[in-house]
């Protein structure tokens, strides 16, 4: 957990199924950020956890009306405000 500008930010990988939030920040190497942006994970988009595989990798999300599976490394780089 990280609090910047007073609001609580959580990593996607820390969310439980059913939880969601607005994307506020994407970190990591440019190629990864680019790929996440390409898939619709843009700032301000609402994303929700649908389910989690055992050990939390991969995770399935609902974003912009479609389902998306992400690996742990990817989830670690996306921050949402809940």
């Amino acid at each position: 957990m990280d609090s910047r500008g007073g609001k609580v930010q959580r990593r996607l990988s820390d969310l439980k199924p059913g939880e969601g939030g607005k994307i506020v920040r994407i970190t990591g190497p440019p190629s990864l950020r680019r790929r996440l942006l390409d898939m619709g994970l843009v700032k301000g988009a609402y994303i929700e956890v649908v389910r989690k595989a055992p050990l939390g990798d991969p995770m399935e999300f609902l974003v912009k009306g479609y389902n998306l599976s992400l690996r742990k490394e990817e989830c670690d780089n996306v921050y949402v405000s809940t």
Binding site: R34, R35, D38, M39, G40, K64, G65, Y66
Partner: protein, 234 residues
């Protein structure tokens, strides 16, 4: 001569189904040279016009980051197909139109197939096809690949687009005053390289240079205008 048509779209938009509908399922399957990515080619004849159809890999975007995206992009940029059919999932327009914008930027001769219209309708979406076509500046054909709806209209649109090739006005996506100034400066420099500018759309190259696209930067590395470019980019 047959019209060369490339099919492109996000994964899971019904691209293969449209390919099969157009070609009657008869495809020549191979690999892209040197890569383990499938390459499918087929033929289609409509009202006496012959079309050669190639199925490009399903991609979300056209960056140089993945092999699928690079294959799709290189094919469009290097082979310059007569018509590129962008298959868009009507039930998921927002994400799908991102690729459409990238294709417009690549200055491909585009036809948009708005597929899965039935699912979009079931989801309660009402898409104003005419308005979408006007905003994009492109022909848009609603289709339902599973029931083969809209296939004749799509073929007609492909043939029409092939006839109008090079005479259509390309819509420009503006990046705002600050970026546009830099883009046009870079574009001006790139235009001095005759080889580069005859092969690629210069505005697209300029945008990719700003994005730091590795493939494009590699190409510019050998250009006589490289020094001048580096001065501007700092």
């Amino acid at each position: 001569m047959a019209i060369r048509v490339a099919l492109i779209g996000n994964p899971n938009v019904g691209k293969s189904l449209i390919f099969n509908n157009l070609t009657g399922g008869k495809a020549h399957v191979g690999n892209w040279p040197g890569k383990t990515v499938e390459r499918k080619e087929g033929r289609c004849v409509y009202e006496g016009v012959e079309m050669e159809i190639i199925d490009l890999p399903g991609v979300y975007s056209l960056t140089a980051n993945s092999i699928d995206e690079l294959i799709a992009r290189d094919y469009i940029v290097e082979e310059k197909p007569d018509v590129v059919v962008d298959i868009v999932d009507a039930s998921n327009l927002e994400r799908n139109l991102y690729l459409t914008l990238q294709l417009i930027e690549l200055e491909a001769n585009l036809v948009v197939a708005l597929n899965k219209m039935d699912i979009a309708r079931d989801m309660g979406y009402e898409i104003d096809v005419k308005a979408l076509s006007e905003i994009l500046g492109l022909p848009v054909v609603p289709t339902v690949a599973t029931t083969k709806q809209g296939m004749d209209e799509l073929k007609k649109a492909i043939i029409k687009a092939a006839q109008q090739r090079g005479r259509r006005r390309i819509r420009r996506i503006s990046y705002g005053k600050d970026l546009e100034a830099i883009i046009s400066t870079i574009e001006g420099i790139l235009k001095k390289d005759r080889v580069l500018s005859s092969r690629y759309p210069t505005r697209w190259l300029a945008i990719k240079v700003l994005e730091g696209d590795e493939e494009v930067l590699r190409r510019i590395d050998r250009s006589p205008v490289k020094a001048e470019l580096m001065e501007v980019l700092g």
